[in-house]
């Protein structure tokens, strides 16, 4: 049974319930210069998940995951 997560507004399918770390790894795989997750922050359903909890925080179908990076601005 696939688990469908909303990652930065797009639906992403996983074979089983992923952790935040799994979701981040998948999302950053295609990003150049992502610095191995440095300069990155994650919110699940509008709650910030600290980096230290990424591996142990499960994500389930329908959860909204926002993965943000420090970028040019201001």
């Amino acid at each position: 049974m696939t688990v469908s997560i909303i990652v930065n507004g797009d639906e992403v399918a996983f074979d089983r319930r992923p952790s935040v770390e799994d979701v981040v790894a998948r999302a950053l795989a295609d990003v150049d210069g992502a610095s191995g997750g440095r300069g990155i922050a994650v919110a699940v359903n509008s709650d910030v998940v600290p980096r230290s909890s990424w591996a142990t925080t499960p994500v389930d179908t329908g959860d909204r995951v926002e993965i943000l990076a420090a970028t040019q601005g201001g």
Binding site: V31, D32, G74
Partner: protein
């Protein structure tokens, strides 16, 4: 001239550093990173500016990103100051600030809560509300605010570490539109005052410093200049010149001319006859 940025900043900073929330900076120029067409160009401009503190925004990661602004700041020893640009409510800004704290490993935040995306003017009600919440959560809050002395007072009252009034609306390059209000904010403030937004060219930055501001924050005046590196250098010197002039004490303005050469002992050179 051959002076390095450090030497230029240092000559100015000796005995007169910028101190925000107990942290000392030798440069009084805070830079933004928005508007630069390339990361390489941005890096050259930031280095030329001599800045030690530079804002970044938080945005969704996406494919095709050209390198990382995070890496750029780190290898140049520039502290990242995450902002909450794009937030319209206190709750959005508070969540964005928390994400910035996580991403940039700092509890400093440039707090922006704007009323709409046309004027980009701060929403004073939401701004004070967000500032109070973030200060209570342990953040070092640097709010982008209107050039309103009373609003500045309210922000200081809730514990902001600096006050950052606009000179003119973001991106306009119109300079310091209300110098009397900026001077009034400076006169009352017990925390550093950073002129944020509206700078167009070097004389605007110098004017802000002459008015007594502790620092200037600018981005597009440099990143969208025809020659960003040269404008960055101009801004670095302008901020130093303005600070020096502020400390030096300007002469009073006079309605009538006052000769600077002695009036006694002039030769009789009436050659008209």
């Amino acid at each position: 001239m051959n002076a390095t940025p450090d030497a230029v900043n240092g000559a100015h900073a000796a005995g007169d550093p910028l101190v925000i929330a107990g942290r000392t900076f030798s440069s009084r120029l805070i830079m933004g990173t928005g508007g630069a067409p390339s990361l390489a160009g941005l890096e050259a401009a930031l280095v030329a500016s001599g800045t030690e503190l530079t804002t970044v925004a938080l945005r969704r990661v996406h494919t095709g990103t050209e390198g990382s602004v995070w890496d750029l700041l780190e290898r140049n020893g520039i502290r990242a100051l995450p902002n909450t640009a794009g937030c319209f409510t206190a709750s959005e800004a508070v969540l964005t600030a928390k994400l910035g704290r996580e991403a940039c490993e700092t509890d400093w935040v440039k707090l922006e809560v704007v009323a709409d995306d046309v004027s980009l003017l701060p929403d004073p009600i939401e701004l004070v509300s967000a500032a109070r919440t973030l200060v209570d959560d342990g953040f070092t809050v640097l709010p982008y605010t209107n050039d309103d002395p009373i609003l500045a007072r309210k922000l200081a009252d809730v514990g902001c570490a600096a006050i950052m009034p606009l000179g003119a609306p973001i991106g306009t390059g119109l300079g310091v539109l209300n110098p009397r209000n900026i001077a009034a904010i400076v006169a009352e403030s017990e925390v550093p005052v950073v002129l944020d937004a509206g700078i167009g060219t070097a004389s605007d930055a110098a004017q802000a410093m002459e008015l007594g501001c502790d620092a200037v924050l600018l981005a597009t005046a440099v990143t969208r200049a025809a020659d960003p590196v040269r404008m960055a250098r101009a801004m670095r010197h302008a901020v130093i010149a303005g600070r020096e002039a502020f400390h030096a004490g300007r002469i009073p303005r006079r309605e009538e001319a006052l000769a600077s050469s002695p009036t006694d002992g002039r030769a009789n050179l009436d050659l008209a006859m």
